[in-house]
C-alpha cells in the first residue's frame, strides 16, 4: 500500500536557473509537486499520468525515498518514507525506462550484487535467481557481460533485478520508454504478474495504450498538481471526449486555465 498525503516538493533555484525561468519569475523556489494526495492499493495497478515535466518522476522518486518531501507524507506498507527510509527501500522494487546496469558484470554477478545489498541469504538468492532465469529463459546469457547483451536481454536482467527480493511494492517510472514492442511487452507482463501476486504497483507513463491495458486506478498530474484521482472505471464513465488521449488533453488544458 502507498498512501500519499498532501505531498509537495519544491526546489531552490540558483541564480542561473532563476534567469532561465524568464523575467516573469520572481521567486526563489519552484514547485515540482504541489499538494498531491493519492492511495495505491495492493493487488491493483495505479497509473500516474502526466506530460513531460508534470512531476511524475519527482513523485515516484519521493516514494522510493530518493528525494525528501518538502511537505506532506508518504507511507509505504505503513512506514514513513522519511523516518524509515531504509526499511521502505527493502520493501520496494524500482524500475525506470532509463535504468542502467553495470555493463562489465554478468547478469549473475549483477544480481548477486543487488541480492547482497538487499541482504538476501545465498540459498534464497540461488532459488529465486533460478526461478526467474527459467521464467525468462536467461540461462544462455547468464555468464555473458551485460554490455554485450541485446536491449531485450538487458531489460530482462533489469526486471529480475527489480523483483529478485520479492518486494511488496513496485514503482515503475516510464518503464517502457525507448523500448521496442517486444521488450516493452515483457514489462507489461511483469506489471500484470505483480497485480496477480497481490503486490502494490504504481507506474508513471504518458502512453495511453498502456493505461488502457493495465490500469485499475489512475491519477493525472499537470504542472505538479493533481488534476484527477480515482478508479479507471469512474474516469472512463465520466469522460467528456471520445478517447483517453483527448480526455487527458482536455483535463490538462482546463487545469492550465485555472
Amino acid at each position: 500500500m502507498i498512501e500519499i498525503e498532501q505531498l509537495s516538493k519544491s526546489f531552490e533555484l540558483n541564480r542561473r536557473q532563476r534567469k532561465e525561468m524568464g523575467s516573469d519569475f520572481s521567486g526563489k523556489t519552484v514547485y515540482a509537486v504541489r499538494d498531491v494526495s493519492l492511495t495505491a492499493k495492493p493487488g491493483r495497478i495505479f497509473s500516474l499520468l502526466g506530460a513531460n515535466g508534470a512531476g511524475k518522476t519527482t513523485t515516484l522518486r519521493m516514494v522510493a525515498t530518493m528525494l525528501r518531501p518538502s511537505a506532506g507524507t508518504i507511507r509505504v506498507c505503513g512506514m514513513d518514507t522519511v523516518r524509515d527510509a531504509a526499511a521502505v527501500r527493502s520493501k520496494l522494487g524500482f524500475l525506470t525506462g532509463s535504468t542502467g546496469l553495470y555493463t562489465r558484470l554478468t547478469p549473475v554477478e549483477l544480481l548477486r550484487y543487488f541480492a547482497d545489498l538487499y541482504g538476501m541469504p545465498r540459498a534464497l538468492f540461488e532459488q529465486r535467481k533460478n526461478h526467474y532465469f527459467d521464467l525468462f529463459d536467461m540461462h544462455p546469457f547468464a555468464d555473458r557481460q551485460i554490455g554485450k547483451l541485446s536491449t531485450g536481454m538487458k531489460q530482462k536482467v533489469s526486471i529480475v533485478r527489480t523483483v529478485l527480493h520479492d518486494p511488496d511494492v513496485l514503482v515503475f517510472d516510464e518503464p517502457t520508454s525507448g523500448l521496442d514492442v517486444i521488450t516493452a511487452r515483457n514489462i507489461i507482463e511483469l506489471i500484470r504478474d505483480c497485480r496477480t501476486q497481490g503486490k502494490t504497483v504504481i507506474f508513471s507513463t504518458h502512453i495511453m495504450s498502456e493505461v488502457e491495458m493495465l490500469c485499475d486506478d489512475l491519477a493525472i498530474i499537470h504542472r505538479g498538481s493533481l488534476v484527477y484521482s480515482g478508479t479507471y472505471e469512474h474516469f472512463k464513465s465520466n469522460m467528456q471526449t471520445s478517447s483517453l488521449s483527448d480526455e487527458f488533453v482536455r483535463l490538462a488544458t482546463s487545469a492550465e486555465k485555472v
Partner: protein
C-alpha cells in the same frame, strides 16, 4: 650590415693599433657586435675573450716581474660537508613526490569520474539509491574505491622505484657507486613509512576533491572538463620543490601539496626536521577530513546525486 642582414652571428672589431697598445701596456678596446636574441653565441665569444684576457694579463705580470699569486690576496678553499645522499636527495628527491603525486591523482581520477558522474550518466545511480543501503554507506564504498585506486597507484610507483634500485643495481653499472648507495639509503622502511604518512592524507584529499567534482557533474565528459584544470593546480606547487633553496619551514608546512613536495624531498635527502613535518602531516589529515565531509555533503544533496 652583415650582422643586421643575418649572415653573421657576431662581429668582433679590433682596433688597428691593438698590437702597439698591448706592447706599450695601454688599454685597447675591442668592440663586440651581437644580437640579444642570440645570447648563447655572445656568451661563447665572451668566454673566449675572457681566456685571452687572462693570457694577456699573465704576459703583463711576467713582464713586470710580479707573481700572479700576489694579485689574489685571498684564496677560498671550499669543503663540501653534505653527504652524497643529501646532494642526490635534493635533486632526485624533488622528482619523486612529483611522480607519486601524479600517479596518486590519476589513480583517483578515473574511479572518481566513473563512480560519480559515470553512474549518473549510465543510470545506475538511481538503481543503487533505491537499494536499502544508506547514502553514507554508498558514499563510503565509492570513496574507498577512489582512495584505494590513488593509494595503490602511488604505492606501485614508489614500490617499483624502490625495487628497481634494490634488485637491479647492476644495471646502474655506469653510475658512480655513491649514487646507488644513496638511492638505496633512500628506500629504507623508515623513509617509506614517512612517505606513506604524507601519502595517506594526500590521497584522501585528492579522492574527496575529485569525488565532489565528479558528483556535481552530470556526465563523464563534464566531469573530465571540471577535473582537468584541477590537475594543473595540483602540479604547480609540486614543481616548486624543484627550485633550489626553498626549505620546508613551520610557516610553509601549512600549505597543502606544496608541503608534501618539500617534506618528501627532505625525507629522501635525510634533511627533514621534525616540527615542520608534523605540521605538514597534521594539516594534511585535517584537510583530508574536511574534504571528505564536504564531499559527503555533496553526495547527500538531492540536487547533485540524481540525474537531472
Amino acid at each position: 650590415m652583415s650582422l643586421i642582414g643575418d649572415s653573421l652571428d657576431v662581429v668582433l672589431a679590433f682596433p688597428d693599433d691593438m698590437a702597439q697598445k698591448l706592447d706599450s701596456m695601454e688599454q685597447a678596446t675591442i668592440t663586440l657586435y651581437y644580437r640579444a636574441t642570440e645570447d648563447d653565441i655572445r656568451s661563447r665569444v665572451d668566454g673566449i675573450l675572457a681566456g685571452a684576457q687572462q693570457l694577456w694579463l699573465g704576459q703583463r705580470l711576467e713582464a713586470l716581474q710580479v707573481d700572479p699569486r700576489q694579485m689574489e690576496p685571498v684564496v677560498v678553499r671550499r669543503i663540501d660537508l653534505s653527504s652524497s645522499r643529501e646532494k642526490i636527495g635534493q635533486t632526485l628527491g624533488a622528482m619523486v613526490p612529483y611522480f607519486f603525486m601524479i600517479f596518486c591523482f590519476l589513480g583517483c581520477m578515473y574511479p572518481a569520474i566513473d563512480l560519480g558522474a559515470g553512474e549518473k550518466e549510465r543510470g545506475t545511480m538511481e538503481t543503487l539509491l533505491s537499494s536499502p543501503a544508506s547514502r553514507l554507506e554508498i558514499f563510503m564504498g565509492k570513496f574507498g574505491v577512489v582512495a584505494l585506486g590513488g593509494l595503490t597507484s602511488a604505492m606501485l610507483a614508489i614500490g617499483s622505484l624502490a625495487l628497481s634500485i634494490q634488485f637491479n643495481s647492476q644495471s646502474f653499472g655506469e653510475l658512480p657507486p655513491e649514487f646507488t648507495e644513496s638511492m638505496s639509503s633512500m628506500v629504507q622502511p623508515g623513509t617509506l613509512a614517512m612517505l606513506f604518512l604524507l601519502l595517506l592524507p594526500l590521497t584522501v584529499f585528492f579522492a574527496s576533491t575529485l569525488m565532489t567534482l565528479s558528483i556535481s557533474a552530470q556526465s563523464f565528459k563534464e566531469a573530465q572538463s571540471l577535473i582537468s584544470p584541477v590537475m594543473i593546480l595540483v602540479m604547480l606547487p609540486t614543481v616548486v620543490a624543484f627550485i633550489p633553496g626553498i626549505e620546508l619551514t613551520t610557516a610553509n608546512a601549512w600549505i597543502p601539496i606544496f608541503n608534501v613536495s618539500l617534506a618528501a624531498r627532505d625525507i629522501l635527502a635525510g634533511t627533514l626536521t621534525t616540527e615542520p613535518f608534523l605540521i605538514a602531516v597534521v594539516s594534511l589529515f585535517a584537510l583530508a577530513l574536511l574534504g571528505m565531509l564536504i564531499s559527503l555533503r555533496y553526495y547527500k544533496s538531492e540536487r547533485n546525486v540524481l540525474p537531472s
